[in-house]
């Protein structure tokens, strides 16, 4: 019997779980997929927004500004990468400058720190590749960029260290309520009993809610397509560049990423299939067209990858963070679309330390620090030499594009937040995330996973369970 089950191990569910692990309560976070954070958290702009854009007085505005500051703490505690890029919202011409000014006023009302309006020339001094048509810009120095799924994985890792549990492939198909607790029925036939449920199920949060009630919100999924430039584009742009926002959202952006890549996107289209992450020709044209307003010198030939995500936009115009009116102990943290990633630490604080009204005491032994080794390629040469002498597996280079060693892949497999899939290793160690997209190293990673988990090669999955890369062994009728 758990005190709290968190449904969904994305950025929201994982940070909530971590906050819960501060208390003397029994916590389980579950995910229907084969890994931590498989949906929105792995398909967004990775921006920690300043809070300039959300409606004044909304939870989105409040939690975005709070969350932005809290990432400084997360950086120290969870050792997550945080790129302090700052941002510019750019305007072309008088009409846009008026809209820019309104945005500036909104930023001030939202108490966004350090905002200012600068000229087009000043903008181009900071980022020389910006379009010459830009006449003014809103400077947002508190904007940052992180590596979202690493935050989720590290948060769960820290939570587990402090007593929480994680279960993957746990797909909730119905919820039963009796007098003392809830029973979650999973697709595999098993059940989980818990006194409280926190619904952080992203695009499926309305589905989870519907198992017990008519939800007050409905998810209206919006897809966003993205295009990723190889990390040799590092330094072409220094800040996050936004156009002026529209009803569809913040617009098509240029976003430097923590590992050197540059992200272009997203689009924003209403879709029916919540988990259909397809890129389209039209989406790419749209992005190229809209990026012209920001810069005319984007090297599209450096694109190495495309991806798409679906936002859990809901019919409720703000974040929906409430206890169910009908069912005590059933909490919804839903409709968390942008600025969800930024707001996540503030949402977690609010949910756990205010909304839940936890009676149990705080743990005195809670350790907020989650240690992990830095990427091997970023260490000084002498340190690398020393480490390799102690552990030769640091000498065996597996991913030549991103310079990832065998030991880093081994580390990504084992441990409470390790994963045994090709994509899970890519998320953790970055093997396969570079120029050749795993063309060289996928086979090597596959063999390492098989060895480390003592499984035959045909059981190593790409990502979901039952997605083996190697489908059939050839020549298996040996007689001699």
């Amino acid at each position: 019997m758990y005190d709290y089950v968190v449904i969904g191990s994305g950025i929201i569910g994982s940070l909530i779980t971590r906050e819960l692990s501060k208390y003397a309560v029994k916590v389980l976070v579950i995910d229907k997929e084969n890994d931590i954070a498989s949906h929105q958290t792995t398909a967004n702009s990775a921006i920690i927004h300043s809070g300039h854009d959300p409606k004044v007085g909304s939870l989105k505005a409040k939690f975005c500004v709070l969350g932005n500051k809290l990432y400084d703490d997360l950086e120290k505690e969870l050792n997550i990468p945080l790129l302090r890029t700052g941002a510019l919202v750019v305007a072309n011409g008088k009409k846009e400058e008026t809209a820019l000014d309104e945005l500036y006023q909104r930023a001030l009302k939202n108490e966004v720190p350090e905002v200012s309006i600068i000229s087009g020339e000043e903008a181009r001094t900071l980022d020389p590749l910006l379009s010459k048509d830009i006449t003014k810009a809103l400077s947002l120095p508190t904007t940052k960029v992180t590596y979202p799924w690493e935050v989720a994985i590290s948060a769960i890792g820290n939570a587990i260290k402090n007593g929480a549990s994680f279960k993957r492939n746990a797909h909730v198909i119905s919820i039963e309520k009796n007098s003392t607790h809830y029973v979650l029925h999973l697709k595999d036939g098993s059940t989980i009993a818990s006194k409280n449920i926190i619904n952080a199920a992203g695009v499926n949060s309305d589905v989870i809610a519907s198992y017990l009630e008519e939800p007050e919100f409905k998810i209206t999924p919006r897809k966003g397509e993205y295009y990723v430039l190889d990390r040799k584009a590092v330094g072409l742009f220094h800040q996050v560049i936004y156009p002026l926002p529209t009803d569809a959202g913040k617009g098509v952006l240029i976003v430097p990423q923590v590992h050197g890549n540059v992200l272009l996107g997203p689009t924003s289209t209403l879709v029916e299939d919540k988990e259909c992450y397809s890129n389209t020709k039209e989406g790419f044209s749209y992005i190229k067209q809209h990026l012209k307003r920001l810069s005319k010198e984007i090297p599209f030939d450096m694109i190495i990858r495309t991806f798409a995500g679906v936002r859990a936009t809901s019919t409720y115009e703000d974040f929906y963070i409430k206890e169910s009116k009908l069912h005590k102990g059933f909490y919804h943290v839903a409709g968390i679309d942008s600025p969800g990633l930024t707001a996540a630490p503030a949402i977690a604080n609010y949910v756990v330390h205010e909304l839940l009204n936890i009676q149990a005491p705080l743990k005195t032994a809670f350790d907020p620090i989650f240690q992990k080794p830095k990427p091997f390629h970023s260490l000084p040469f002498e340190t690398q030499q020393k480490l390799v002498r102690e552990n030769p597996k640091y000498g065996n280079l597996i991913c030549k594009c991103e310079k990832i060693t065998e030991q880093e892949i081994i580390d990504a497999i084992h441990g409470p937040t390790g994963n045994d899939t090709i994509k899970g290793i890519k998320k953790r160690a970055r093997a396969g995330a570079g120029l050749c997209q795993g063309g060289y190293c996928e086979g090597l990673v596959l063999k390492i996973i098989a060895r480390e988990t003592n499984k035959p090669l045909t059981e190593i999955n790409y990502y979901a369970s039952d997605t083996p890369i190697l489908v059939k062994e050839t020549k298996t009728n040996e007689k001699n």
């Binding site: 295009y227 990723v228 040799k232 988990e275 259909c276 992450y277 397809s278 890129n279 389209t280 020709k281 790419f284 694109i303 190495i304 990858r305 495309t306 991806f307 390629h377 040469f381 690398q384 030499q385 390799v388 002498r389 030769p392 597996k393 640091y394 000498g395 065996n396 280079l397 030549k400 594009c401 310079k403 060693t405 065998e406 120029l435 050749c436 997209q437 063309g439 060289y440 996928e442 086979g443 090669l457 045909t458 999955n461 790409y462 990502y463 979901a464 039952d466 997605t467 890369i469 190697l470 489908v471 059939k472 062994e473 050839t474 020549k475």
Partner: protein, 420 residues
């Protein structure tokens, strides 16, 4: 710190030929190979068709590689196996940072370097192939490695995008091992592969070839379920109402090869945007003195025999450079790709450092032609002409210019005139 006169990065076809050609003097040569064996991509090319020119025999890839590997062993050329170059800098000499499980992190000092690092396969992302991203989509070469080296099929119902030789060979290979190949799509109106491969790999197994088609949608959440191909117009835009849908679990991509030279960006060698690799002179030296390059790392070849020839050249010139120990100040003039010529290697002639009496040009054309004449032109004058038949972009051509036939130290243009 390890030291060598010549470091050769890559022990595949190009590196092997370069090493052999550079040997036979007091110079120390070190081949750096990231796999545990020499041979490079030849090890997984188990089909035959290699060596018709070099050995006047039809060999399989591994047999072809073995000819060079045995010679290398006889010459006592040093090889570092399981070793990757992760950094390269130049002060007076080259400083390479090497990593391996056996020796850890080391630096190697080399007076000259030959880049023979081959190429990698163009990815789905690089062409923005639309659709979802389930398991089951991979480069044809990756599937080839899993099948021929490890012994596993990556799928049972296959479609192949790209009719270059890798795609055609894999169509046959997957079929022979029990998979069903439902078709090959090629965006161009003609196949890039050898006609014999169309016969032996597609026609023999009734595998349809869809010319002027490309993949326009990919469906499948976790595993690939379905692809859609469409006919394209002359601007390669999909034509509506030409969709054909295939239920497959595998899509192999054979959509191009790209020289694997990102590592050498740190040396800031001048690059050609067409070949996406270094600009070289007649000695296959890049704009960085002492840095040579050959094989697929320089420009993508279709016949390994020419890779070996090019590796031989690089080895010879690297050896010459090291033994002479100096070079004259450069006087480099461009070899310009003219009409119907996509690119020419070498890209320039350094007239002050020529050591032979002729220069051989390797080049590709932009258009398929039944018959045409290649012309070497200098200052408006035709220096040399060569008639040719069955000219195609997929087949690298060559032409040798005797330097005494050049009238001056001015740029040369190579062009192709179609015979109609």
């Amino acid at each position: 710190m390890k030291k060598t006169d010549l470091a050769i990065i890559g022990g595949g076809a190009a590196g092997l030929a370069a090493a052999l050609s550079a040997s036979g003097s007091s110079l120390s040569i070190l081949v750096i190979e990231r796999e545990k064996v020499l041979g490079g991509i030849l090890n997984q090319c188990i089909h035959n068709g290699f060596g018709l020119h070099m050995f006047k025999e039809e060999l399989t890839g591994p047999e072809y590689a073995n000819r060079f590997i045995e010679d290398l062993r006889r010459e006592n050329i040093d090889v570092l196996y399981g070793t990757t170059v992760i950094d390269i800098q130049k002060k007076d000499t080259f400083l390479l940072t090497l990593t391996s499980e056996v020796h850890g992190y080391e630096t190697l000092e080399a007076k000259a370097v030959i880049i023979a690092s081959g190429c990698y396969e163009r990815t789905r992302g690089a062409v923005q192939l639309p659709g979802e991203r389930p398991k089951g989509i991979m480069p044809a070469g990756s599937a080839q490695r899993y099948l021929n080296i490890d012994g596993y099929l990556v799928g049972k119902k296959v479609f192949i995008l790209g009719s270059g030789d890798i795609g055609l060979i894999m169509a046959r290979r997957m079929t022979l091992e029990g998979a069903k190949v439902l078709g090959v799509a090629e965006i161009m109106p003609y196949s890039n592969g050898l006609t014999r491969n169309i016969v032996q790999c597609l026609n023999d197994y009734d595998i349809p070839l869809f010319l002027s088609h490309t993949v326009t949608d990919i469906k499948g959440k976790n595993t690939l379920e379905q692809i859609t191909i469409q006919q394209v117009d002359e601007q390669f835009n999909p034509i509506i109402n030409t969709e054909k849908v295939f239920d497959v679990d595998t899509l192999l991509l054979s959509i191009g090869l790209i020289p694997d030279v990102a590592l050498f960006d740190s040396l800031k060698m001048k690059k050609s945007p067409i070949t996406k690799s270094a600009i070289v002179d007649q000695s296959l030296m890049t704009s960085v003195e002492g840095l040579f390059i050959c094989g697929n790392a320089l420009h993508v070849h279709d016949l390994v025999d020419w890779v070996s020839k090019e590796g031989e050249k690089a080895g010879k010139y690297a050896k010459q450079y090291l033994l002479a120990n100096r070079i004259n100040p450069k006087n480099s003039k461009a070899i310009v790709p003219g009409d119907h010529i996509r690119y020419v290697v070498p890209h320039e002639i350094d007239f002050n450092n020529v050591t032979d009496d002729s220069v051989t040009l390797s080049f590709r054309v932009t258009k398929k032609m039944a018959s045409g004449t290649f012309k070497v032109i200098q200052n408006g004058e035709v220096i040399q002409m060569k008639k040719a038949k069955y000219i195609a972009p997929a087949e690298m051509e060559s032409l040798t210019i005797k330097l005494e036939e050049l009238k001056s130290f001015d740029p040369i243009t190579l062009s192709l005139e179609e015979t109609l």
